[in-house]
């Protein structure tokens, strides 16, 4: 039976209190999640997939489909970059689904159909978004940043997929024309009553009829929506009990995470689900996709995932709205340096096994481990005589650390930069950037660290991403 085999999510460390999101006076209630300066839809997708694939073999994955409306490139695939960083095999299907807020659930349907058709055994679906609302707009305040990932397959499923229902419409409530930075919004006096509210209700009702379930037969209704009030209207009208039967939209603690929202809310629901539960998921955007899930006993094996709820617990509040603008690269400081260092695409490509896949070389003669891959063994001088070993699955400890207010990078959005030397359990040592480190004085030599795939800040960068380390969350 085709279903969900694993789940994962990622919520960035930073939160902004909405009351600060005003020019003067007091803004809205609650807080939203904010991606770090070195995070985007690609890096958050990688983090969510790492959470989802914990304990899973990366090489057996046959495909990755990512949904996002804020992919860092208009031309260049996010899924292929993520698959490379995650060291998935080369002969896999990768695809991006862009442009629509319901793309994540659409991707699940495509993945499930691929598994059902026998063209793939295990498909990963990720959805990630870091959308920009115009400064001080309601959309900026209501939004959040985050990602979710689901592993779709037909073995060891934690929830079987009982059916899909899709509805497509050209109704326009939010849109971002080609080249624009910020998402546009129509008046909510129009978009709710004419679009979202009746269309979501109708699609959910039609799906329930198609699946042959009634309100009493559904343990949890999970669905996306633009804001808390508009979202709440759906369940009430369909006679679901908002207290017990509806997954919290997490608007007060995270915000609307765009294309990631339906899958993130589903992950939150799965984190609280028990065997036998029936979950109905609906995703809004240019129509509606609906999916019915039945939770199996295997759900108990998922307890080590951070998921949405785990990541929501670890957070750092931003000191103010200006810091948010800095993290989103919307507020610039003058660059005082003239020269820049541009990463060479050719060099990055040559060294991709080390830089993206985090492979070290292990000398076949004496066993010495070195990172990045080194052709001459420093211990026994064997030449080109090594195996490539993966560092990503290894546990990491902090060897030494510092901050850096004047790194070689001309402009750092979120100074000071963190720097560390880390030791992998298999003996490799690596000097690299440290991110999301909080209070530098609170760090301790020897403390556990984890790897996170992040954007590098470089002048003239082409596709500069690399692994960084951060304290375990």
């Amino acid at each position: 039976m085709v279903g969900i085999c694993s789940y994962g999510a990622y919520v960035p460390l930073y939160r902004l209190a909405r009351e600060m999101m005003v020019l003067e006076g007091k803004g809205g209630a609650g807080e939203r999640s904010v991606a770090g300066a070195d995070e985007d839809a690609l890096t958050m997708a990688v983090d969510a997939i790492l959470d989802c694939t914990k304990g899973k073999d990366h090489e057996s994955i046959n495909g990755l489909i990512n949904a996002s409306t804020s992919a860092p490139f208009d031309e260049k695939q996010l899924a292929a970059a993520a698959a490379a960083a995650l060291d998935f095999g080369d002969n896999i299907l990768t695809a991006d689904i862009g442009n629509s807020l319901r793309g994540g659930l659409t991707a699940v349907r495509l993945a499930a159909d691929a598994v059902k058709a026998g063209s793939a055994k295990k498909m990963l679906v990720s959805a990630s978004d870091c959308r920009l609302g115009a400064p001080l707009s309601a959309l900026e305040s209501n939004s959040g940043d985050g990602a979710a990932a689901l592993l779709v397959g037909d073995k060891d499923v934690i929830a079987t997929i009982e059916g899909f229902h899709s509805f497509s419409t050209d109704f326009t409530d939010t849109w971002r024309p080609n080249g624009d930075k910020f998402v546009h919004v129509w008046s909510d006096r129009f978009t709710g009553p004419e679009g979202y509210t009746p269309m979501m209700q109708a699609a959910i009702a039609a799906a329930m009829k198609k699946f042959g379930v009634d309100v009493a037969g559904i343990s949890k209704l999970v669905y996306s929506g633009p804001d808390a009030r508009t979202h709440a209207g759906i369940a009430g009208a369909l006679k679901f009990d908002p207290k017990t039967q509806v997954q919290d939209g997490l608007f007060g603690v995270m915000g609307n995470t765009g294309a990631a929202q339906p899958l993130m809310l589903l992950v939150a629901a799965l984190q609280q689900a028990k065997a036998g539960d029936t979950i109905l998921v609906a995703a809004w955007g240019d129509g509606v996709d609906v999916m019915l899930l039945k939770v199996t006993d295997a759900i108990e094996k998922m307890k080590d995932r951070h998921g949405v709820l785990g990541y929501l617990k670890s957070k750092k509040m931003l000191p103010g709205y200006l810091k948010y603008l800095r993290l989103r690269h919307l507020f610039f400081m003058e660059v005082t340096r003239i020269t820049g260092i541009t990463p060479g695409l050719a060099q990055m490509w040559r060294e991709r096994d080390s830089l993206y896949k985090l492979h070290a070389s292990k000398c076949k003669q004496c066993g010495w481990l070195d990172f990045p891959i080194r052709r001459i063994c420093p211990k026994c001088y064997s030449k080109d005589n090594y195996d490539q070993v993966k560092l990503l699955p290894e546990k990491v400890k902090l060897y030494s650390f510092s901050t850096d207010t004047i790194p070689t990078i001309p402009e750092v959005t979120d100074p000071p930069q963190g720097r560390a030397i880390i030791d992998f359990e298999n003996g490799a040592r690596l000097e690299l950037e440290m991110t999301d480190f909080g209070d530098i004085q609170a760090l301790k030599i020897g403390q556990p660290m984890e790897m996170t795939f992040r954007k590098l800040e470089r002048q003239g960068d082409v596709a500069a991403y690399a692994w960084k380390c951060k304290p375990v969350r």
């Binding site: 260092i341 070195d370 510092s402 530098i440 030599i445």
Partner: protein, 395 residues
């Protein structure tokens, strides 16, 4: 390995004031330092047989940059680069050319023009690994401080204070030198409370970015002796280059960032050449590469001035202050005199030379014995360590 001891003499030296030299271009740095050296050595441009130039910041500064500035016509001129040891390299390779009997009057030049490129840390455009090199020199050396504190169980505040004392010492010495970048003594409080550059290193733990130039005119020991001019003799030349380059993204699990291995090896080379058994007693003063206070602390141990782990106690005792038993950085060092990278190695020798000739003014040591100049390019993990020993002349 052979020995360079007593084969080559320094007969003249020059050094520009170090600082933010907005009014001086590269040619000015070369001309002003070279003409001071000419006057000192009593030689003129037509006497120079060959030029060796140490410079880091651009491959477009070549030997011809010096021949052009000084209008030295169609003589051998070579640019040398060995990171922060480039100035020392100009003297080292120049000395070998004299010792080999190729030339009798050689000009060794070091200069760096950094301020024109903007503020911040040392610029190193090109040659860095595009991905894995992520930070500035302060960020690299700061991690050595964190590890050193941990290894020797030094509480944070105590460690900050220990490092601050090194900065206070170097500023006190620099205040006595008219050519230093910062001619100003500082208090312990100022050093400890300065803004953080790369935690735990604060502003006063870091040397500045500086413009400057320095020169030496060298000849054979025999020529110097016959001329009866005041001079100093080269007693040893050492160089050790590591093999794990963090600038190229390399690191290794057996790298000890609390000790400078290359400096240790280069020191053993020069001590063997000069017949030095007990450096603490036989070295009169040392000019060391204090790019950061933590660097200088670890240098004390790496040069064998004190056993590993005992540098903090020596700092507490004031052993390396001007009045201590082995004064270090009598001219203020990189911290206070400044660090125009390619010039620094020769600037250090300039101070040792002046100490030998009794010209060091308020900083003059009673018995300069043998002076040691130490330059250390690179970053924890891999260094280019160069050491030059300077002793009294033959007459």
């Amino acid at each position: 390995m052979g020995s360079i001891k007593d084969k080559v003499a320094i007969i003249g030296m020059g050094c520009t004031p170090f600082g933010d030299l907005w009014k001086m271009g590269v040619s000015d740095l070369i001309i002003n330092s070279a003409y001071e050296a000419y006057e000192d050595a009593k030689v003129g441009p037509k006497d120079i047989e060959a030029v060796f130039v140490g410079n880091v910041s651009s491959s477009m500064w070549t030997g011809a940059t010096v021949t052009e500035a000084l209008q030295l016509d169609k003589i051998p001129a070579t640019r040398l680069e060995n990171n922060c040891a480039s100035g020392a390299e100009a003297l080292r390779v120049g000395a070998f050319s004299v010792a080999a009997g190729m030339y009798d009057t050689v000009l060794c030049v070091g200069f760096e023009k950094l301020k024109d490129y903007g503020s911040g840390a040392l610029e190193m455009p090109g040659g860095l690994h595009p991905i894995t090199v992520v930070g500035s020199a302060p960020g690299s050396f700061a991690k050595s401080a964190v590890q050193y504190f941990e290894k020797y169980k030094i509480p944070f505040e105590k460690g900050k204070e220990m490092l601050a004392k090194i900065a206070v010492k170097n500023h006190a010495n620099g205040a006595l030198h008219p050519k230093a970048h910062f001619k100003r003594a500082i208090t312990l409080e100022t050093a400890m409370n300065a803004p953080i550059i790369a935690w735990p290193l604060g502003l006063f733990d870091c040397c500045p970015v500086t413009d400057g130039g320095a020169c030496a005119i060298i000849t054979s020991a025999a020529t110097a002796k016959a001329s009866k001019k005041p001079h100093a003799l080269i007693k040893g030349l050492g160089l050790s280059v590591g093999r794990i380059d963090p600038f190229k993204g390399k690191f290794r699990s057996d790298v000890d960032i609390t000790f400078w291995d290359e400096t240790w090896v280069a020191a053993q080379q020069v001590y063997a050449q000069a017949g030095i058994k007990d450096p603490r007693k036989e070295i009169g003063s040392a000019e060391v590469h204090d790019c950061f206070t933590i660097t200088e602390l670890i240098i004390y141990e790496s040069l064998g001035f004190c056993p590993r782990g005992t540098a903090p106690a020596e700092v507490e005792k004031g052993s390396f202050e001007l009045a201590g038993d082995l004064p270090v950085n009598t001219d203020g060092g990189l911290k206070s005199f400044g660090h125009p990278v390619g010039a620094s190695g020769l600037r250090m020798v300039y101070e040792l030379y002046n100490q030998q000739l009794g010209r060091a003014g308020k900083r003059q040591l009673k018995d300069p014995k043998i002076g040691l100049a130490h330059s250390q390019g690179g970053t924890p993990g891999m260094f280019q360590a160069a050491i030059t020993l300077i002793g009294p002349g033959a007459n």
